[in-house]
């Protein structure tokens, strides 16, 4: 059986047949007859140009299907079909990727949340799996910048430009990078997942580019490939992936972000999104960011310029100064964290090396206890409400 694909549909009960989408579509994927306006799955390339121009909202409909609905089938519809039961659907279950290998990787990364992850209630709808292993997108490297001043910890800021190829990402999503060459069995390498560190409207606003934060791993096949990329190089990319580790669109939501090393990538994206959209007024963000030393902390310079009103920062170093871990400083700031835990507007994000989970969990357990809450119950409730997110590796 073919892999299920995601199909773009228009709700015939809500559409008013104004044909604005049809006139907007750059690839003529939208057609109509006397009854319905429909999207041709063979032509649609998910560029999303039709989404904002629709006056009704009928255009933002998606189904995961084994076999796409034909144009003629759609012409006959009086209403949209239900999502078929394919075992799991993105819409109903928060499926993170249609690609089994990628879904597996993400499920593994998210398992620290202690249960099935859910997206925040007000998060924007993510696009997933537009570009697959069989049909990857090609991006051009716009820049490759060293973020740390520590030879043992070479972290890079890589900017990829997608030109005319659609790559609609949300903060918190990941993309796959396919390293060139083949493995020992002669098969092409599988993509490695990297979290996007730029906001949805681009590393540079309204440019179709994004950034990654990548640490060079000794013997790491893909990380060395990425960290050595030069301006103008072309990279094969899959994705986007991820449908739960997303930020709430509600500007009043409060974000508590705990990260180490390159786990700061999604936090950077969140912060930039807030910076570009809320204009100073928001529920605020609090960050506990751990690294070995100041010199190995990615984005140390730029972070210093973010105002406290937007982002309350706690930078923590394990190899210099007072030698602390994030959980130590969380305990020091117990009152602040407790107050956040008590607020139903708070969303928690944890991202970094798997090893950080235990210490952070313990700190949360103690702080929750201090306000008479049982941590696992609180965490499970928050997760169910889409307010607790873990991505570790």
């Amino acid at each position: 059986m073919n892999k299920p694909i995601k199909q773009h549909l228009i709700d015939p009960e809500i559409c008013i047949r104004c044909y604005t989408c049809e006139m907007t579509c750059p690839v003529e994927a939208i057609v109509h007859n006397d009854d319905n306006v429909v999207v041709d799955a063979d032509k649609c390339n998910f560029c999303m140009d039709c989404i904002p121009v629709c006056p009704t909202g009928s255009i933002d409909e998606w189904r995961v299907v084994a076999e796409p609905y034909s144009v003629d089938e759609q012409f006959d519809w009086m209403e949209l079909p239900e999502q078929q039961d394919l075992g799991a659907s993105e819409a109903d279950t928060g499926m993170e990727a249609l690609d089994d290998a990628m879904a597996q990787l993400l499920a593994d990364a998210h398992k620290g949340a202690g249960g099935k992850a859910k997206a925040p209630a007000t998060a924007a709808k993510p696009s997933i799996n537009m570009h697959t292993l069989g049909k990857p997108a090609t991006a051009k490297v716009q820049g490759n910048y060293r973020l740390t001043n520590d030879p043992a910890h070479d972290v890079r800021h890589i900017i990829l430009d997608f030109g005319g190829t659609p790559m609609p990402v949300l903060e918190g999503q990941s993309i796959g990078v396919i390293p060139p060459g083949t493995d020992e069995n002669g098969n092409p390498h599988l993509p490695r997942l990297y979290s996007i560190s730029s906001p949805r409207d681009g590393e540079r606003p309204n440019y179709n580019n994004l950034s990654l934060t990548v640490k060079r791993e000794e013997m790491g096949l893909c990380s060395n490939y990425v960290c050595d990329l030069k301006q103008g190089d072309e990279v094969q990319v899959t994705g986007p992936f991820g449908a739960t580790f997303l930020m709430p669109d509600d500007p009043e939501a409060r974000l508590l972000m705990i990260c180490t090393g390159t786990g700061s990538a999604p936090m950077r994206a969140f912060t930039m999104r807030r910076q570009r959209t809320t204009g100073g007024k928001s529920g605020g963000m609090t960050m506990f960011f751990g690294a070995r030393t100041e010199k190995s902390l990615p984005y140390f310079g730029p972070l210093k310029k973010v105002p406290t009103s937007l982002l309350d920062q706690h930078l923590v170093y394990s190899r210099e100064g007072t030698k602390q871990y994030v959980q130590d400083v969380m305990r020091e700031e117990e009152d602040k964290v407790a107050e956040l835990l008590n607020d139903p507007k708070t969303h928690i994000y944890i991202c970094g090396l798997r090893g950080m989970e235990e210490g952070v969990e313990l700190a949360f357990t103690n702080i929750a206890e201090s306000i008479g809450q049982q941590w696992t119950a609180l965490r499970d409730a928050m997760r169910e409400e889409g307010r607790y997110h873990v991505e570790t590796y």
Partner: protein, 483 residues
């Protein structure tokens, strides 16, 4: 409040026409703008001017840029001058110049004709805002109030679009015409709006929805035909305006649909199956379907009148000279010159309605009207589906084109909605069966009570299926300023 003295016109006005380097036009706009803001401020009740409204603003013409949603006070809305991107090597699609390069400047011989078309189009835009000025006071929900104001600010932007063309391409008399657009006023005795339908008041929300569905759809058809124009700046302006006009169609279609839905739901709940049990149905605080049919009859026929005379040499000239095309001109498979073609129009001969063939060139209006009727029928079919789904035996219909007409060949006769010619006496006797009576109007008026709680709706209208910009049901679309 907008700081009139410090407006930086080149940056304040989103535009893709290089306004900052076009000193002459910029200056004309600067001079015109205060009058426009005064017009706006005098128009809509003050507490709405001060309210924060969740509006869509176009800041550029690409798909990503023309639907930016945010809270804004209406007088601070950024009315822009936005033209659809220029198509390279665009050719005149019809008439004697078909195939020639589209004009980037006004051809001298067509100057007056073009100016008149632009002025008439421009005159309708502020006209409808004037007609709707008091509706905010009786909005059935904040959602609907937001939709009203969105329609209003976009009509305002369409006025800007036309005024820009007048300033840019028509010199001194263009500037005078632009001033007159602010001087005329809907329903005024001394200086009324140019077209009849824009001098009727919009007394209630069902009228507003019918107006946006039927009358704005006439506007859409006119824009469609001007979008074909050989005068490229007019074509580009109208193409972009059409994307906004789609929102007005949406407000009309869903507004009437939601009114019907509320009626059907209330009837079902009360166990009423007979749609003509009008008093019982009205006791439920909803508008009975026969009255909705009467409102439809009224607004549909007023809108048909806007297409003018069925056979018209003016329309023939506009087509032949490449100024105004047909609906979807470029998709029609003919010679686009219509020198020998004929077209069927209905007319009155010896007391009978008969079809006759006339030269297609003279029947341009008629053809556009026929396209309009087809376009308008679609939504009526979807309304009927709502009724059918509720299990009520009732069908809304578009009346015959001869019914209740003031302009064109049918103005001379009286006809019933089926198109049977009847006597003046019979018309007088039966008029209230077909068109809203004073009592119908009074009843609808009695329902027009504001409902300003987020997520709440007046009894006679059901909530929308989807929020604007995907917002949840209780989203506060207007943050009311309570003085």
């Amino acid at each position: 409040m907008l700081d009139l003295i410090n407006v930086s016109y080149d940056t304040q006005i989103p535009n893709n026409v290089g306004l900052s380097s076009d000193k002459k036009v910029l200056k004309a706009l600067e001079r015109w703008h205060p009058g426009y803001i005064n017009w706006w401020n005098d128009l809509i009740p003050q507490n709405f001017q001060e309210s924060m409204v969740y509006l869509r603003t176009a800041v550029s013409v690409d798909p990503k840029g023309w639907a930016k949603f945010d809270y804004v006070k209406m007088p601070e809305y950024r009315w822009g001058v936005l033209l659809a991107p220029q198509v390279e090597d665009r050719r005149i699609p019809m008439g004697e110049h078909a195939g020639e390069l589209a004009w980037q400047e006004v051809p001298g011989e067509y100057r007056n004709m073009l100016k008149r078309l632009i002025v008439i189009q421009g005159d309708t835009e502020p006209g409808s805002v004037e007609q709707q000025r008091f509706l905010g006071l009786t909005a059935p929900s904040l959602y609907d109030m937001r939709n009203l104001f969105q329609v209003n600010v976009e009509e305002g932007r369409h006025l800007w679009a036309m005024v820009y063309l007048l300033f840019k391409y028509f010199g001194k008399d263009g500037r005078e015409e632009a001033d007159d657009l602010l001087r005329r006023s809907s329903g005024s005795d001394e200086a009324p709006r140019m077209l009849g339908a824009f001098n009727e008041e919009t007394p209630d929300w069902l009228s507003f929805f019918m107006f946006t569905y039927f009358t704005d759809r006439d506007g859409k058809m006119q824009l469609e035909s001007l979008a074909q124009s050989g005068f490229d700046p007019l074509s580009r302006t109208c193409r972009f305006m059409l994307t906004e006009e789609a929102h007005h169609m949406f407000v009309g279609e869903t507004g009437v649909g939601r009114t019907i839905q509320a009626t059907c739901d209330a009837m079902k709940k009360a166990g009423i199956t007979d749609p003509y049990n009008i008093n019982k149905i009205r006791d439920l605080g909803v508008i009975d379907l026969p009255t909705i049919q009467k409102k439809l009859n009224l607004h549909y026929t007023l809108s048909l009148d806007l297409f003018g005379q069925e056979v018209s040499t003016n329309a023939a000239n506009a087509f032949n000279s490449g100024i105004k095309g047909r609906y979807m001109e470029t998709r029609i498979d003919d010679d686009h010159k219509l020198q020998d073609a004929t077209y069927t129009v209905r007319t009155v001969k010896n007391g009978l309605i008969v079809a006759e063939e006339v030269p297609a060139l003279t029947a341009i209006n008629m053809r556009l009207r026929d396209d309009y009727v087809r376009d308008a029928a679609g939504g009526v079919g979807r309304w009927n589906k709502l009724i059918e789904k509720s299990g009520i035996d009732f069908e809304l219909t578009l009346p015959h084109e001869a019914f209740h007409r003031q302009i064109g060949v049918f103005a001379a006769i009286k006809a019933d909605p089926e198109g049977n010619i009847i006597s003046n006496d019979e018309w007088a006797k039966r008029r209230d069966e077909w068109l809203p009576s004073k009592a119908d109007g009074d009843y609808i008026q009695s329902l027009m009570k504001p409902c300003y709680e987020p997520g709440q709706y007046a009894s006679w209208i059901s909530p929308p299926k989807v929020g604007i910009d995907n917002k949840p049901g209780d989203f506060e679309y207007v943050k009311l300023h309570m003085a």
